[in-house]
Amino acid sequence: MDVKASRATLAPDGPAIHIEDLTKDYGTVHAVRGISLDVHRGEVFGFLGPNGAGKTTTIRCLLDLLRPTAGRLEVLGLDPRRDSLLLRSKVAYMPGELRLPERMTGAGLVSAVGRLRGGIDTRRRDSLAERLDLDLSRRLRDLSSGNRRKVALLLAFVADAQLLVLDEPTNGLDPLIQREFLALVREAKEQGRTIFLSSHVLSEVQRAADRVAVLRQGTLVAVGGVDELRRRARQRVEVWFDGPAPTEELGALPELVNQHTEDHRFTALLAGSIEPLLAVLVRHHVVSLLVEEPDLEEAFLDLYEAAS
């Protein structure tokens, strides 16, 4: 049996990506500090965090572009270092910082990458170029940054890859193309491909991802489903009373933070169970009660505040 093929089928049902205590230092700078997570096969996984959080460093370790300082990585059941050749034939990568050979045309670059990958589906290339409204005959230096990003998107989606690793894929794309990108992600997911999507555009991740990991200064702040993360974040509570708000009773509840009272109106953030609050409210005349679930952006910021 082919050794490479047998490695590829070692864990066909295992996670698409397994990261265990990944650490990457650049001298005294700790870019990634012992993160661990699993990405399931066939899911769209959002990798969130601001610039410098360690997203790109993690991705570059997954692709064997960087060698981890410590920790264990497995991608599609393969070791990124030992099985790098086989692994890269199953992975398509779109770099976040795009530097393309300027004198080449888009078509020339796609052909060059196609030759390195052992061939590409030209019909799919043309179809993607049409969907992304991309003129491949133009030189890359003559393209806007958005159009260059479209070329990189095309390169990622035209590859016959089981895993797509996309680093900040929609930076600089207009809303129409962003919508097309989300459609491409959905189609790839339907085909059973795994998408690892690094972004700081929360609305994009919210629409595309099944699960999300949030990174902060090289550490993992949270991992979970988009809905779960929303639930874990603090909810905004607003209560209108028939009379003055019972500030003493409410102030004694540790689940309520950032409390603010204004005559009959009481607002706070609920971090924990709502039951103690309801127990207080039933003893008073409540005119209205509003408990708002945060969107992903609020949840993200909240998780960040909590982590810091």
Partner: protein, 268 residues
């Protein structure tokens, strides 16, 4: 050749054609313009007499021995310093642009993340660099032989071919040194500094060490001397000179490829 290898070598080879055209034009202009003065120089015996009166160590240091002969004229005018320097500079710049320069600019990431081994990727670039130096060698040789014919320089094609090929190999040696450094670190300035320093120091050793009885025996350590120390325009060249330049060139390129396989790739 598979499509992958065709791209690994052909990609960087095609990317350097403008630079190669520039170097080719420079070589042709230098060679033709220097050889074009031979008919005038041949008749001016006063100049050769004046040069011959210089102290012997000085004549040796600047490659002016036998300047009145065809071989001496070509050595002093072209092959003592100018042509080897052009090959060394071309080697440094080809190697640097194909590897450390591209990596420093962040343009390698997209290609290195494709299903090809890092060592193969780097080796493809080394082959492209050597291929362009081979093309420049052929251009220089063709220009020299044609100029010799046109302007009536009575010198055999064999010694001329040996001299030009050794200049090309000197360029390949310096380029391979740059490739080795670029394999270790993606620092284009460092790569260039190492390449140009080695070439320049190597020339100084060959030119100036013979002036000191203490240093004279050490002139053989210079790659410049391995290439041109035996006066190939007069004597032709021994096989070991080709091997001493070509062998380490291949070895250094391999070291670069192996080192490139073992380190982090620089991003933009």
């Amino acid at each position: 050749m598979s499509g992958r290898w065709a791209e690994l070598i052909g990609g960087p080879f095609r990317a350097s054609w403008r630079a190669a055209l520039g170097w080719s034009i420079a070589l042709v202009v230098l060679i033709v313009s220097t050889v074009a003065f031979w008919p005038a120089f041949r008749g001016a015996s006063g100049i050769t007499q004046a040069i011959d009166q210089l102290p012997a160590p000085l004549l040796g240091a600047f490659g002016l021995e036998g300047f009145g002969t065809p071989a001496g004229y070509l050595r002093g005018g072209l092959y003592e310093l100018v042509i080897p320097l052009v090959f060394a500079a071309a080697g440094v710049l080809f190697a640097n642009i194909a590897t450390a320069g591209e990596e420093d600019a962040g343009r390698l990431e997209l290609f290195v993340s494709q299903p090809i081994s890092r060592a193969a990727f780097f080796a493809g670039r080394c082959v492209a660099v050597f291929a362009w130096l081979a093309v420049l060698t052929l251009v220089a040789l063709a220009a020299q032989l044609a100029s010799d014919q046109i302007f009536g320089v009575p010198i055999g094609a064999g010694p001329v071919a040996a001299t030009v090929v050794l200049c090309g190999l000197l360029g390949a040696f310096v380029a391979s040194l740059c490739l080795a450094v670029a394999g270790l670190v993606a620092r284009p300035q460092l790569v260039q500094s190492v390449g140009f320093s080695v070439a320049y120091i190597s020339y100084l050793i060959l030119a100036l060490f013979p002036l000191s009885s203490l240093l004279a025996p050490w002139r053989e350590i210079a790659p410049w001397g391995w290439a041109l120390g035996g006066d190939p325009l007069v004597n032709g060249a021994e096989v070991w000179r080709y091997l001493l330049l070509g062998g380490p060139a291949v070895l250094l390129a391999l070291i670069g490829a192996l080192a490139f396989d073992r380190r982090d790739i620089r991003s933009a």
